[in-house]
Amino acid sequence: MALLEIRNLVVEFGRFRAVDGVDLTVEAGEILCVVGESGSGKSVSMLAVMGLIGWPGKVSADVMRFDGIDLLGLSPRARRKLVGRDIAMVFQEPTTSLNPCYPVGWQIAESLRAHNAVPRAQVRDRVIELLDQVGIPAPASRLGAFPHQLSGGMNQRVMIAMAISCNPRLLIADEPTTALDVTIQKQILDLLVDLQSKRGMALALITHDMGVVAETAHRVQVMYAGQMVEEQPTEALFTKPHHPYTAALLAALPERAMGASRLPTIPGMVPGIDDRPVGCLFNPRCGRVQEICRTSAPPLIGEAAKFRCYFPLGESA
């Protein structure tokens, strides 16, 4: 049984479908990467898993199970027991994601206390231990530091310490390095992968950096305009992408574009609320577009490699 299993997830804001029928499966202990341009619904679908989509957003799914528990059937209180303990999340902006009014040590301790993760008397020691595990030097002296006194990278380490404080089985990291300096990005990614393998937890890593995907992921899911357009194990995806959008993302990788005078880019933008095309959502930007793509939406097909395209690449048609 998969750790997290979601079928046909839909998140709507008014008449806008930010997430449009996404399937999401995370096995225990694996690293799943979710890629796609900004606005493709990556954050929203993860927030839906956390139960953090508030009014006016509406979440529905045919199946939404964590460790066999139906998440949508849980009372809000029961769901809050899971969230922050068994499923935890790290966000894109570390500095604004921490409360400016409280010391970082206090904020980590709050998570431990909320879920009674350790006896009260041991909370302080456990916080120091967590800060040490995420690579913060002199952890005991940082307990009283406020977020504005730490760098972005340090704050992200604090966020990670907070997220892993109750030994989650699934850690969701939503572009955890996008807001950081390039030199720090690698350190934070290494930390996440290291924690993942040491603790055996599953990691759902959202990124739009294909290079990161190649290095870390076991499996990759490509999102476009609220839909999942392709899903494959990492190696297969890089050697044999099926969806033209995936191929375009790969072509934009610097090491694949050797010889070209400039990096290829995908023309156009992810459709928003008012310009969703009929048929395949990618058709206005697709190089392989045919008549049927403009009239009828392709279904998700395939077993080991799933994709949503009438004219996939790499098929000897």
């Binding site: 303990r85 604004t96 409360n99 400016p100 409280y102």
Partner: protein, 334 residues
């Protein structure tokens, strides 16, 4: 912090001169001086009037009178009332606790009701409760105190007979004024009904004086909360699995308090202005009541000294607010 305090203290001197000058000019712009008001319509012999005027220094040119007053204040003397001949400082000290008691009660009333209302309106934004509350608070914030006070007296004192009309305590009670705060003094008095009487005298003036700050605090809390509730760290707090109440109070309100405290500080000046009107309506024997009487009697030393002391008070409160602000906001703490 020390440099900040020093800078604030050096600002006090020009403020003093400004306040005394303004009150001096305003008082002298009103026709009649203390002697004329005292002798009333009967009048006295012009020679006698001239002698009295000379005694009070009123025959001097205005600039000289002002300069003399400034020198006197600078040497630490506020002078004595031209009516009672008591030192201004002594009278102020006797009456001041009554004003503080009323103002503090009004502020507590405004906070205890305004803060929760603002928080609830923000959490339930866009609902009938939110719109209703904001409508009422616009009315509340622009309520004319005089009219509001008289309406409250008409309804609760005259028609319903629930509360007394005037004063701090019933005539039947004699309470030793050792702290000057009637609630405290009556609590420790041997008379059984004294405390209840003091409370019933305080209720209406507290509500009347507290209405404007209540409305302002509720609106300010709502808008500060709305802003904070959209912040990233609120999402983090919810992602930790905290209860909604804890997210709102511990995470959101704690941040929203920073702007709200500033507004409360700004309210204190307005509160003292309102206290003057409220004390007059309810015959509350405080500083405001005292100043209004001083205007009627052209009691120059009381008016100027009293205004100056209130200005000092407002500055002290604002300083206190700034210090609190630094305490609440770790980002500006050093």
């Amino acid at each position: 912090m020390l440099r900040f305090l020093l800078r604030r203290v050096t600002l006090i001197i020009p403020t003093f001169i400004g306040v005394t000058l303004a009150s001096f000019l305003l008082i002298h712009a009103v026709p009649g001086d203390p002697i004329e008001v005292r002798v009333g319509e009967h009048g006295i012999a012009p020679e006698r009037l001239a002698i009295l005027r000379h005694e009070f220094g009123l025959d001097q040119p205005l600039w000289k009178q002002f300069a003399d007053y400034e020198v006197q204040v600078a040497s630490g003397h506020l002078g004595a009332s031209t009516v009672t001949h008591q030192p201004v400082w002594d009278e102020f000290l006797t009456l001041f606790p009554a004003t503080v008691e009323l103002s503090v009660c009004a502020l507590i009333f405004a906070l205890v009701i305004g803060l929760p209302l603002g928080v609830i309106a923000a959490v339930k934004r866009g609902t009938a409760f939110d719109y209703g509350l904001m409508g009422v608070s616009v009315t509340g914030a622009s309520m004319p105190i005089f009219w509001w006070g008289l309406m409250m007296i008409l309804v609760f004192s005259v028609s319903l007979g629930w509360t007394p009309v005037a004063g701090r305590i019933g005539d039947a009670f004699f309470v030793e004024p050792w702290s000057g705060f009637m609630l405290i003094d009556s609590w420790f008095s041997d008379d059984d009904g004294a405390f209840a009487s003091a409370v019933s005298h305080l209720i209406l003036p507290t509500i009347v004086l507290g209405t404007i700050p209540l409305a302002t605090i509720a609106r300010m809390t709502r808008s500060a909360m709305l802003e904070v509730l959209g912040d990233d760290f609120i999402r983090t707090a919810r992602a930790k699995g905290l209860s909604p109440l804890r997210v709102v109070i511990v995470h959101a309100l704690r941040n929203a308090l920073i702007p709200v405290v500033t507004v409360i500080g700004l309210q204190v000046g307005a509160l003292l202005g309102g206290a003057i009107l409220t004390e007059t309506i309810f015959a509350w024997p405080g500083v405001g009541h005292w100043l209004i009487e001083a205007i009627q009697r052209r009691d120059y030393p009381v008016l100027q000294g009293g205004t100056l002391l209130i200005a000092v008070l407002v500055m002290a409160v604002n300083l206190g607010v700034d210090v609190t602000y630094g305490f609440l906001n770790p980002r500006i703490r050093k």
